[in-house]
Amino acid sequence: MSYSTLDQIKNGETVLIEQIHGEQLAEQLQHLGCVPGVYVQLERRAPLGDPLIFRLDQSFISVRLNDAKGIQVRPSTSSL
């Protein structure tokens, strides 16, 4: 089982959120329903490459590349 961070995943890839580093970031993401244990899929990148849009359940959230570095994920075979 290989661990990586959310900024490293490819377009269309679905991963499982393992851990979010940084209290403030974790709290902001929690408000949007993004907590350890949920699946997110990288939907697309902004025209300048950053931030990113993730699909999570039936909603879309936007996260900066730099913040994605603080989010530990596990690859997942299931899709949303």
Binding site: Q28, H31, L32, E43, P47, L48, Q58, S59, F60, R64
Partner: protein, 645 residues
């Protein structure tokens, strides 16, 4: 049930609307109160709590409060803090309050933690499952009665957009209030506050049969609208179209309004008894007001387009696309909302900066927002552009007036970015900057909501600006009709025996110069002369510190004094204005451009200063802002005038 009900006292009861941003709370508030206020598809549109009246048949009107959307009782941003404090304080209130928690059914899962948090407070609560129509399209099915029993809360399914479920909510609230007043209310939501995870609740009562269609549609649209190349061009195209539309579509109604006011002024002048009051109303008030009403079509169009972008969900994508760019300037993707809103009016725009959680990014956004050309500048720009650029002049196939207008907006935007960039190094950062934001699903515009927004903004502009304009017009009329000592009588005597072709005009001009207003203009003239401004412009610069659009009203008043026939509009009068000594035209290209730049940069707005004091919690930043923007305006005008001279 009815046997234990006792009619409750409406005076003592309140309904509190709570929920995530973008859950449709404000739509419900509109439907239920009929009160006109703003609703949007952008997280954080309601930044202040709003009050309204809620009629329950056979009982009376109850107060209903709409709180800004929040995600948690531990708030991150200012607007969330307002709601969280309010909710936590409910325990100490004497009134019997019912919390109505509104959630988008499609994102029920992430709402459960907040519902649990609020349930812990022990206040009566009703859960509204909003956007049921969208949930049905997404093939989401909710077992409403099963879930209601399990979590111990009354649940009302709703589609607030079309008002479906509103009557059921009224009945439910009435029932709960009756129970409270008869003492038979019991909190039954213990189940919810106990260790029950949101996943468990959701899995038991919410069924998803198929992939969600509206989610897929949003994903497809995003493929185009935030595409690396198309996305940028679409955004620029949208901006360009808005500016062309504001100029070409609005010219007809503007002509009608201008002519209408001329007719009205002449009719009043002939109908009212001659004398001081007649002069005051025709030359002061009507002339001043006419100069403002004429800009309603343009302002309405601008608000319409911003409202449309907000309501469909496109504005969030603009934030997303601009985040990286704006970050380089010490701002945030969310700064797009205040910055675009600033194109309408800086006051609500500065308030909307509350959605930015990072302190420095919020301060910088507040500091630079007044550089964005607001609707109050439209009257000033339009008048001055029309004065120095012929309407028929084209530039590579486009209307040159429109291009100059767009350039002024770009100059303002550029000044905002550069200022933020410099400030980034002067203001210390406090804590990490994050940008996490919901991208709402695209949805068709709710035309009635946009209509209400446009109506409210135009009304506010007319009434707020109108009040200032009438006051300033009257003061100005007095100042320009009377003078120190008996200079006025002396001028009358001097010309009494003289026969001149344009005698009334010459007398009026000399009187104006001798008046208190003339004194004021003369006093400031040495300072503004290097910018190409004469004393009449000086008077307008002083009066328009109250609000920029007062410039036009002041000019209208100043130039209508002495024009007894009142035959031509302000534009014609200014175009023909000549320096009495040299006989040269006053409004040359150099003076026109110098004035345009001055109004693009100067912080000529009392209301903005007041709101910055309030939002930054002191006088430090508004004073720095005022000095900085005034100096920049003065120096830029100086350069522009000397360049075009």
């Amino acid at each position: 049930m009815s046997s234990i009900e006792k009619p409750f006292d409406v005076e003592e009861s309140r309904i509190i609307l709570v929920g995530n941003p973008n859950s449709g709370k404000s739509s419900l508030f509109n439907k239920i109160t009929g009160l006109r206020q703003q609703v949007g598809n952008f997280p954080g549109v309601t930044v202040e709590r709003k009050k309204g009246q809620f009629r329950i048949d056979g009982v009376g009107d109850i107060e209903i409060i709409d709180l800004p959307g929040l995600y948690s009782l531990n708030p991150i941003s200012e607007d969330e803090a307002i709601s969280a404090t309010f909710i936590k304080d409910l325990e100490n209130q004497e009134t019997s309050d019912v919390i109505v928690y509104v959630t988008d059914t499609n994102s029920l899962r992430r709402n459960i933690p907040l519902i649990q948090q609020i349930a812990t407070l022990g206040k009566p609560m009703v859960l509204v499952l909003n956007m049921m129509d969208l949930a049905e399209k997404n093939n989401i099915e909710v077992d409403v009665s099963g879930m209601s029993k399990a979590i111990g809360l009354p649940i009302v399914p709703m589609n607030a957009r079309i008002g479906k479920g509103v009557d059921e909510l009224k009945d439910e609230v009435k029932r709960v209030l009756n129970c409270i007043s008869s003492g038979s209310w019991q909190n039954q939501d213990q189940q919810l506050t106990q260790e029950q995870t949101s996943a468990e609740i959701i899995e038991r009562f919410v069924q998803r049969k198929d992939t969600a269609r509206s989610t897929e549609r949003t994903a497809r649209l995003d493929g185009l609208l935030v595409h690396p190349i198309y996305g940028i061009f679409i955004f620029l195209g949208v901006l360009f179209m808005i500016f062309q539309a504001i100029f070409s579509w609005s010219s007809f109604p503007m002509d009608w309004i201008e002519n209408g006011f001329l007719v009205l002024g002449n009719w009043l002048a002939g109908t009212l008894p001659q004398g001081v009051l007649n002069d005051l109303i025709v030359d002061g008030v009507i002339a001043g007001l006419g100069g403002i009403v004429i800009f309603v079509p343009q302002i309405a169009l601008l608000f319409f387009f911003i409202g449309l972008m907000e309501d469909t969900g496109y504005l969030s994508r603009v934030s997303f696309m601009m985040d990286k760019l704006l970050r380089g300037f010490g701002l945030n993707g969310r700064s797009v909302i205040p910055l675009m809103g600033g194109a309408a009016c800086a006051v609500p725009a500065i308030m909307s900066a509350r959605i930015i959680s990072n302190k420095r990014e919020r301060l910088l956004t507040i500091f630079v927002t007044p550089f964005i050309s607001c609707s109050a500048r439209i009257p000033v720009y339009t008048l001055l552009i029309a004065l120095v650029i012929p309407a028929e002049q084209q530039f590579i196939g486009f209307n040159l007036q429109g291009i100059v207008m767009m350039s002024l907006y770009l100059i303002g935007f550029g000044a905002a970015l550069l200022t933020a960039f410099v400030m980034k190094y002067l203001v210390k950062a406090e804590r990490g900057s994050h940008f996490t934001m919901e991208m709402p699903l695209y949805r068709p515009p709710r035309w009635s909501n946009i209509g209400i927004t446009v109506f409210n903004k135009v009304k506010a502009f007319l009434f707020e600006a109108g009040k200032i304009i009438i006051a300033v017009s009257i003061i100005l009329w007095v100042l320009s009709s009377y003078g120190p000592g008996d200079r006025m009588q002396e001028i009358e005597l001097k010309y009494k025996a003289v026969e001149l072709e344009n005698k009334s005009e010459v007398v009026a001009n000399e009187k104006l110069e001798a008046s208190y207003a003339g004194e004021l203009g003369r006093w400031i003239e040495p300072v503004i002369e290097p910018l190409g401004f004469d004393w009449k412009i000086g008077i307008a610069v002083i009066t328009s510190f109250a609000a920029r659009e007062v410039f036009v009203g002041t000019m209208a008043t100043l130039y209508s004094i002495g024009d007894e026939e009142n035959t031509v509009g302000i534009l014609e009068k200014m175009r023909n204005a000549k320096d009495p000594v040299s006989g040269e035209l006053i409004y040359t290209r150099a003076t026109g451009f110098s004035l345009l730049i001055f109004y693009a940069f100067a912080l000529q707005c009392m209301a903005t200063v007041a709101i910055v004091v309030k939002e930054t919690g002191g006088w430090k930043w508004p004073i720095i802002q005022l000095i900085y923007m005034s100096s920049l305006a003065y120096l830029s005008s100086l350069l522009v005038y000397q360049w075009f001279q």
